[in-house]
Every structure is written in C-alpha cells, then in structure tokens.
Amino acid sequence: MASAIADTSFLIDWIRYSKSRLIFRLFEVIYIPESVLTEIRSERSLTWIAEGLEEGGLAIFPELPDISREALNLVARSRRLPIRPVDYPEAFCLVAGRRLDLTVLTENGGAIALASYDPEYSNVKILRGIDILYLLWRSGLINSFKDELEIYQQETKHIYSRRDLDRYREHLK
C-alpha cells in the first residue's frame, strides 16, 4: 500500500466527512507536515488527528531543511504565473511527494495546477476528496460513488466544479 501526505486544504474538508476514517484503508500511513499541523486549532480536527496518530494511520512529517528549501523555491516559482500560487504547506507536500513517492492529498487548485504545468512535478500523484471517494468506491468500501459524493459535498461544504465532476461524468449519471 502506498503512503500519502496531506495538506491543510485537504484535511479541513475531509475531517468533516462522516466516513473520513475509511481513508486509512487506502494508505499505509498518511503524513501530516508540521507546517500543516500548526495551522490547525479546532477541537474536531485535532481530535481526529490525535486519534489517527494513536491508531497509527497518521504520522507527523518533520520540517526537513532540504525539502523546506525546495518548497520555498516552489512557492516563489508558482508566483510567476497569473494563477493561484502555491503556499508553503502545499509546496512542502508536493516536494515530499515527489522525493519520497508519496501521494499528495490536497484540494488546493494552485498545487494541482502546478503539477499539470511543471514537468518536474508531473509524475506526482495528487488526489482530492472526490478522487478518494472514487477509490473508496472502487475498493468496495462505499456503495455508491454518486450518492457518497453528494453526501460528502453536503457534510464538508466543499463544492466540486463542473470541470471536476466532468472527469467522473460516466459514474455520475
């Protein structure tokens, strides 16, 4: 099983989902960078993280100077284009994802855009909540991808745009 690294944008949505713990069935371990952890203060999120750490599904990814340096570079490079730039915690996840072959869990459009235009990051596997739901459905862990996506959007108040849904058009009829 692969391991993953999650950024703030992913966690603040995913943790609100009633079946959020199913994600631990898809990955060996999900890393949370320290820079992401410092952004989280709510009781619900911290409890979820503490329980994940306790059960071994989560682990904290320390600030490593090498990865940190490259992440800062990425932050600067992403600001050259007139689209959403990548902030440090997302950049850190992308770099760690590339260096250590981790699946990056993010909802940040800037990070996803970067992977689509920067050849250095084109091989990084990036998954959003909708992609995780699809994998859960393919693994038989949820019954209906369409119904569960509806539930997910209601519970998390994350709306997927027409473009995002288009990718799964076939399964959402």
Partner: protein, 77 residues
C-alpha cells in the same frame, strides 16, 4: 506553460470564485465587524484561506469553520 493550459486554469479559478460568490450569505458577511467582513470578502474573491485567516486573527481551520457554517461559503479549490 502552454497558453491553453494557462487559460484553462484561469477559467477554473474564475468558476471557483463564482461558486463562492453565489453560495455566500451576504447578509451575514455585511453584518460582521470590518476585520472579519474584509477577510471573508477577500476569501470569496481569491480562495486564499490562509491570508484571510491571518487577516481575521484566526487559525486556518477556525476561519474555514466560520466561512462554511456562518457565511455559507463552500471550499471549491
């Protein structure tokens, strides 16, 4: 970066902003003290929750909680 890809991403971010604007509870937003109101408006326009959270002196997840629950602003991208 190819112009085609760039155009596509610009469109995506525009669409995300439209969604945030459309769902937002503007009555609630207008009733907030300036710091929070400006942070929420900034967030609607840019999707940049980090800066918005700093503007309102909150942690990221605390800010998002208010944005979603009280101001009805969904996360989109």
């Amino acid at each position: 970066m190819s112009e085609k890809i760039l155009k596509e991403w610009i469109e995506r971010f525009k669409e995300a902003r439209e969604i945030r604007r459309r769902y937002a509870n503007w009555d609630f937003i207008r009733s907030q003290p300036p710091k929070i109101r400006i942070a929420l408006e900034y967030y609607i326009e840019t999707g940049d929750f980090r800066t918005a959270a700093k503007m309102s002196n909150m942690s990221v997840d605390e800010f998002i909680e208010i944005a979603k629950e009280s101001a009805n602003i969904p996360t989109v991208d």
